[in-house]
């Protein structure tokens, strides 16, 4: 197994800075992965693999130069580093501090396939159960994936550290059909750490949720269209706070002046009862880690406090350029990408109202019990989200279920339009797709939004 001794790492980091640049770093990753897809009461695919690779980078002012490869031979790495250095003509301007520790690529996180045998029988039982609930259920897909990822980071400031990350996630997806109507529903719990995900999120409970939702949606009615008040329940998930607001706090957008929240620290950008936090240090959540992909420990970062913009989410490059604190949000999907400011676990903090009170305050509107996917334009904050489980609210009470609906709105407007905030926030795992994909989670308590546009069929 490959061992990079500290002198080779120092040499590599030094070559990177030999012809210019103020900062250089090396990121190495070794990942073991296992996945199963279980469909139609049988295993469709089972896959396992190992990937490793290295990413070398130099930062000069606000520019970065990088190279990645899966070939970890010393000759190849020295060549790559020299090629990057050759992009500069200014000559050396910065001296690297020596790295103290060796990096031993002997991976201690290798996958033991035998442990998955019991999961297969659990999936088989759960799958049979789902089909047995109703003849209307025509398809059940269960999938499971586990990733062991070890990363090593060393940089020209003398830092060297490593992080062991273990991700487990499973998903249950059901399709039901009634005459011409076809509906789907899904749940996908995910955790970090060595716990067994099925202990924390029992498979039976998850499949019951999915089955109940897919069958009830079959009988749902088309949504009323137009502008109306919307109540989003805590269990709906925090996709909106991530997509419609969170990205605008990322410091690379702030530096490029393409975010709606640029130059607004200290200003009121949300209703007074709104506090928004990003915290990658909460143990076990899908967006958590010990060090980010630049070797910075994550922390609780208050983005909005009682409606006032407090801070942004940074990586090393943007923190330096904007002269703001490092928040430990420099993240990347793999050795193929450079780190950029990314959210971790992002949420609207609980406030004082209970959810029943919020519901009863609405005369006519929409209740969102479960959010679907969405998309946002960072420049102006315009977004769309699907409502995968929603109801009409009439006189403060839950009325007919709706199907095929989506809501559109504007992130900054919504922050100001949050009239009530509950105390029942609930985290949901997800995958953020800013350039590449990293695991995140998000949450919000039940909130009432003055009005949003409901679209649908």
């Amino acid at each position: 197994m490959t061992i990079f001794d500290s002198s080779f790492l120092s040499k590599l980091i030094d070559i990177l800075l030999s012809k210019g640049g103020q900062y250089s770093d090396v990121y190495i990753e070794d990942e073991d992965l296992f996945s199963i897809i279980y469909e139609n009461n049988t295993i469709r695919t089972m896959k396992s693999g190992n990937e490793r690779g290295i990413h070398l980078r130099v930062i000069n002012g606000d520019k970065s130069y990088s190279s990645y490869s899966n070939d970890l031979s010393q000759t190849n790495l020295e060549n790559l580093a020299e090629n990057i250095a050759d992009s500069f003509s200014s000559g050396r301007i910065c001296q690297a501090i020596n790295v103290a520790k060796n990096i031993n690529l002997a991976s201690n996180c290798s996958i033991d396939l035998a442990r998955y045998e019991s999961y297969i029988s659990d999936f088989s039982n759960a799958s049979k159960k789902i089909y047995s609930v109703s003849p209307k259920i025509c398809q059940a897909t269960l999938s499971y994936s586990q990733t062991f990822k070890k990363v090593w980071i060393a940089n020209s400031e003398g830092l060297s550290c490593s992080d062991d990350r273990q991700y487990s996630r499973y998903m249950i997806n059901a399709v039901a059909k009634d005459g011409e109507i076809t509906e789907t529903a899904y749940e996908g719990p995910g955790i970090t750490g060595s716990k067994n995900i099925f202990d924390q999120y029992p498979i039976d409970l998850t499949s019951e949720k999915v089955v109940k939702r897919v069958l009830s949606t079959l009988d749902a009615k088309p949504a009323p269209l137009g502008k109306m008040p919307v109540v989003m329940m805590g269990e709906a998930g925090g996709t909106m706070i991530h997509e419609a607001c969170g990205h605008a706090f990322e410091a690379d957008f702030i530096y490029k002046d393409t975010s709606i929240f640029g130059n607004k620290v200290g200003q009121k950008i949300a209703a007074e009862n709104v506090t928004v936090i990003d915290d990658g240090a909460i143990s076990g959540l899908y967006g958590s880690y010990k060090y980010d992909d630049e070797g910075v420990a994550p922390e609780k970062t208050i983005l909005i406090e009682n409606g006032i913009l407090k801070s942004y989410i940074s990586d090393r490059l943007s923190a330096k350029l904007l002269n703001i604190p490092l928040t430990g949000n420099g993240r990347r999907e793999s050795f193929r990408s450079k780190p950029i400011p990314r959210m971790s676990n992002t949420f609207i903090e609980d406030h004082d109202t209970n959810s029943a009170e919020i519901l009863s305050s609405v005369n006519e509107g929409i209740l969102v019990k479960r959010m679907g996917g969405g998309q946002v334009d960072i420049t102006n904050g315009e977004f769309i989200f699907e409502i995968s489980e929603g109801y009409v609210i009439k006189n403060g009470k839950i009325s007919d279920q709706i199907r095929g609906a989506s809501m559109i709105g504007n992130g900054p407007d919504v922050l100001n339009d949050i009239e009530m905030v509950g105390n029942d926030k609930d985290f949901m795992p997800g995958v953020c797709g800013k350039y590449d994909h990293v695991p995140v989670s998000d949450a919000q308590p039940t909130i009432k939004i003055k009005q949003m546009t409901i679209g649908g069929r």
């Binding site: 970065s64 990645y68 899966n70 393409t258 420049t379 315009e382």
Partner: protein
């Protein structure tokens, strides 16, 4: 062939010889790429890479296993093969798992490859980006910021064999520019983007691309909300391509067999307007989606999916084909060494109509909506075709723009939409969205809008 690749194949073969198998395959992929981001007359980000990896599948007694790795030391390969053996034991048998014994690549007459990846210097490529940036800013004063301007090029190679076959290879080069800019007018800001990817660097028209990137931003300034009602609507060709790419999974035989496509049982039925014909063709010379053989070694073919509105056929990989006792259509496509072959289009082509884009947008009688961008496509329903999307575009009358419009959703069902076709344009372009989508803009009789 690279000596190391040959040796790796030979080593894997010698190891696999010791295991009882009915068949096996080895898929090797190498990708060399370069990405340059440019902003404010300077290179902002420069990235180069060389990467390769290998996937091994074993087929024995109707069981199939799948592993991958990207280090080629014997120890890593042996570890991967051990995992493959273990997975083989855990897999339930399915008589439809299949692999090819022999491989016969299709003969496609591509023109000479463009080796600009190696032959054209990096300063020249940066000069192109600078030219594109100048072009964008010169288009309209309202364009104030470049969010991202990029050049990307890559050179990919694959090598593939099964137990009895020789090693076959494919090689491709691709070049592209993309841009994302912001236009401002007082307090209003709108972003606009566009891109162009081609097999030949010189086929990219930077003037046209610059115009389009700038236009997509400044033309949306002062956009108004749109009234809720049904509109006669033109979807621009890139929006049509987005729909086709997302809903192409409805044509996957595997999805049909698994009751995950609303097109199940509809072969021979009229499902679209007579004006609409859709073909998947992996054999088109010089097209980005063309393949001599797919990720399972099956020969590429041309498959008629919809002809004059009638549903003709679905797309197959080996397993889906075995289930119905038919031939694979050569659509078992691997996007990398770490992904399994799944059914995807190669080149998905809409037969063009006679109308130019301007004629398509001309309607004397009433309001016409032109959609230039949609949001949230991935939230649509891949099984039944339902969609509800955020959209932006232009409200037109008599062929001229009344106003840009935003903050509304369009909703409907993809298959029903195909029945609502009014006219198909002739402004064909190609869009590498997963598969390569080749299509014109299309005008629909009616699309439901929910807005103000």
């Amino acid at each position: 062939m690279d000596k190391i690749i040959k040796e790796t194949f030979n080593y894997i073969e010698s190891e696999l010889e010791r295991i009882p198998t009915d068949n096996w395959d080895i898929f090797y992929m190498q990708d060399q790429s370069r990405q340059i981001s440019f902003r404010n007359k300077e290179v902002e980000d420069f990235k180069e890479s060389v990467e390769d990896g290998i996937a091994i599948r074993l087929l024995h007694e109707n069981r199939l296993s799948n592993v991958f790795c990207n280090s080629f030391e014997k120890e890593s390969i042996n570890k991967a093969i051990d995992k493959a053996k273990f997975i083989l034991k855990m897999m339930p048998p399915d008589e439809n798992f299949a692999m090819n014994d022999t491989i016969s690549p299709a003969k496609i007459k591509h023109s000479e490859k463009d080796w600009s990846f190696y032959d054209v210097g990096i300063p020249e490529k940066i000069k192109n980006l600078s030219y594109l940036e100048d072009k964008i800013f010169s288009e309209n004063k309202a364009v104030t910021k470049v969010e991202h301007l990029g050049f990307a090029e890559s050179h990919g190679k694959i090598f593939y064999r099964t137990k009895q076959s020789e090693i076959f290879s494919e090689e491709s080069l691709i070049y592209g520019f993309d841009g994302d800019v912001i236009a401002e007018d007082g307090a209003e800001a709108e972003s606009g983007s566009d891109y162009s990817y081609k097999r030949n660097l010189n086929d990219i028209d930077l003037d046209l691309l610059g115009q389009r990137i700038a236009y997509n931003a400044y033309s949306m300034l002062n956009a108004k909300p749109l009234k809720s009602k049904n509109y006669k609507t033109v979807l621009n060709n890139d929006v049509v391509a987005g729909f086709l790419s997302f809903f192409s999974s409805l044509f996957s035989a595997e999805n049909v067999q698994n009751k995950k496509s609303v097109l199940d049982g509809k072969i021979g039925e009229k499902i679209a307007s007579e004006k609409f014909s859709l073909v998947d063709d992996g054999l088109i010379p010089d097209s980005l989606g063309s393949l001599a053989f797919d990720g399972e070694g099956s020969t590429s073919t041309k498959t008629s999916l919809i002809k004059n509105g009638e549903l003709k056929q679905f797309l197959y990989n080996l397993k889906a084909a075995a289930k119905e006792g038919v031939m694979s259509t050569g659509n078992g496509i691997r996007s990398s060494y770490y992904s399994t072959p799944i059914i995807k289009p190669s080149n998905l082509i809409v037969s063009p109509g006679k109308h130019s884009y301007d004629q398509l947008c001309l309607d004397e009688s009433k309001d016409l909506l032109v959609i230039n961008s949609v949001m949230g496509m991935h939230t649509s329903n891949r099984v039944n075709g339902d969609f509800s999307l955020g959209a932006t575009g232009y409200l037109m009358k008599n062929g001229t723009i009344v106003s840009p419009v935003k903050q509304f959703t369009i909703a409907g069902n993809f298959i029903q939409l195909l029945c609502e076709i009014f006219e198909i344009g002739n402004d064909v372009d190609s869009f590498p969205f997963g598969g390569n989508i080749i299509c014109p803009s299309i005008c629909f009789n009616s699309i439901s809008v929910s807005g103000a």
